[in-house]
Symmetry: C2
Subunit: 357 residues, 2 copies
């Protein structure tokens, strides 16, 4: 007689491994899908792989449908009946730009659905379970949930708050002096610069202060050896300035081929309002701050930053511009879930500004 | 017929491995031997291990004699004739507190000596080779030389310059604010604090400014879970102050059981002169700076720092005291030979301020 415990345990591990396999596919869509989440899916019938897919970009089929199409293309259409679908996020159950995935799942006769994270969107939350179970489909959520949740953090935050996930990125010397973009090419190594451009690739918008436009005349585009995936647009380039008149009209962001991707906000005090607008109107899920010390301080004090990415270059600079201006920050802040990595001679420290994820 | 090339190559690798084995022993003496260098030695006869040893502290036998005594204690006295001695530093050839090791090597009939680094001391440099070879002993220096040289860096520097090797150590938040010792117990984790105390264990003296004595009232001793090896003294505690009158007489460094290990220098401008005195008079080979931003800046600008150890705690502090005071450091400095390590939630970045070692 088989031990039911052993069977359950084996199935739980297999389920987790397959959701993680789906998560690896989801990563291929990172930075491409806003305002939708990047999602991955795989289909198995017992131990046999039938197909897999991920959501490529908004307006295109969801991961579940991509996986179903892949199974068909592989000639496994007849096997879908009775198979199991593994997906990183609860399948959608309402009509958006595409029909609901729950319907497709029912239509092809899938008998079991295993997913990572419950969709926080009020239109979907938990509905998939009810819809699918009513059709006799077994549903299990919360598998490999932490990994899926960590990966979907920006999107989950945006759905919950209506504002983008905000990443503050800065380059600094060991003594906490800012490395401005112009100097970064001398100070930071190639590997660290590539990292910054990959970070831009995962962002929907980059926000800078007017001073950065005047001082550095940055392009704020994805380049530097980072391949632009097909269909990926350059990020929105958002400028906060006291007065538009202070900005040079011949700046690159106003004159280059992506100039329609540049937005200027004048004299903003309601940062939160702009964040809402960036999410609602421009579909921004992840916003990258490339700030000097003054704006960074202000955003930290208003608690508008979710993630911190600091490139530390092994120089003692003694420069004039502090990474964080002024003294006596109202609240000392701690980083959580810290990851560090060496890139050439530079170090990148990345962490969250809030303990809960 | 054996290939002489293959034989040579095998011997070279074996030689290197054995000098590295001796180096591992040398490490046991780190911080214990000043003004002598920490040295290790092993003795083999072909593939048979006969004995090993390291220099424990000044006034006690050198590593070579410790290894010979170990071989005798193991009952291998009769095998020493015809054996090979591996040692990290060129054996000494003059009478110091102990008789020259070259004589002991000759006396027991060792037939081959392999060592790492040539002794830069003018009394010894290269003399061992001549003395030993005159007795028909084969001598090979420069084996595993880089590893031995890196390890002996502080002592080699002190012999060359007559001044201690200077390590600047500082605790900082991500935004380059100093973490003073009093706060460090809140900010830095236990693992990082242990690292600092192990660093003190490897140092012969700790130098602080008067302000640190007034503000932090530090003990500047080795503790915090770091075991004091037998015979190790607490480091010299050296204070630079504008006026002795500014120092509180009831400060710990003046009143605790190690108060005879506290030295005060008033109104010093000739830093180099004090460094010489610390080396010549107090036998200081490694000096640890635990400075605030003002003195650190001054020592950097005068190019008196050899090594940089920065503990970065994952906080955004916004504190009032910069790791490095003021702006426009005369010369931007770069770190070389960088090592980083995570200690709990903190990171330690360690590197050299001069490219050559």
């Amino acid at each position: 007689m088989k031990s039911p415990f052993k069977t359950d345990k084996a199935q739980a591990l297999r389920d987790e491994a397959r959701v993680l396999q789906a998560l690896d596919l989801a990563r291929l869509g990172l930075g491409m899908t806003s305002p939708n989440p990047p999602v991955g899916a795989v289909i198995y019938k017992e131990d046999r792989f039938l197909g897999s897919g991920y959501h490529h970009r908004a307006g295109e089929p969801h991961a579940e449908r991509m996986a179903l199409a892949d199974a068909l293309a592989r000639g496994h259409g007849d096997d879908l009946k009775g198979s199991t679908l593994y997906v990183t996020l609860e399948p959608c159950s309402s009509y958006g730009k595409t029909p609901p995935c729950t319907q497709a799942i029912i239509d092809v006769g899938i008998k079991r659905v295993v997913y990572g994270v419950v969709d926080p969107d009020a239109r979907h939350r938990g509905r998939a379970n009810a819809l699918l179970e009513a059709e006799g489909i077994e549903v299990q959520g919360g598998v490999a949930e932490k990994a899926c949740r960590d990966f979907l953090r920006p999107w989950l935050h945006a759905v919950r708050t209506g504002c983008p996930w905000v990443i503050a990125k800065m380059g600094a010397t060991l003594d906490g002096r800012i490395v401005r973009w112009g100097n970064q090419h001398q100070i930071s190594g190639r590997e660290a610069l590539e990292y910054v451009h990959r970070l831009r690739l995962q962002s929907d918008a980059i926000l800078v202060g007017g001073r950065t436009v005047r001082t550095d005349n940055p392009q704020l585009t994805i380049r530097f050896g980072v391949e632009m995936p097909e269909g990926k647009k350059q990020p929105w380039r958002v400028v906060f300035t006291q007065s538009v008149k202070n900005l040079p009209l011949d700046a690159r962001i106003f004159t280059d081929e992506y100039s329609e991707r540049t937005l200027v906000y004048e004299c903003v005090d309601d940062f939160q309002g702009v964040l809402h607008e960036l999410h609602e109107k421009y579909g921004v899920v992840t916003l990258l701050l490339e700030f000097g010390g003054h704006l960074l301080r202000e955003w930290l004090e208003r608690d508008l930053v979710q993630e911190w990415v600091q490139i530390i270059s092994p120089y003692i600079g003694g420069g004039n511009e502090l990474l964080l201006s002024g003294n006596d920050l109202k609240t000392e802040r701690q980083l959580f879930d810290i990851r560090t990595q060496q890139f050439g001679k530079d170090f990148i420290i990345r962490g969250l500004l809030h303990g809960e994820s």
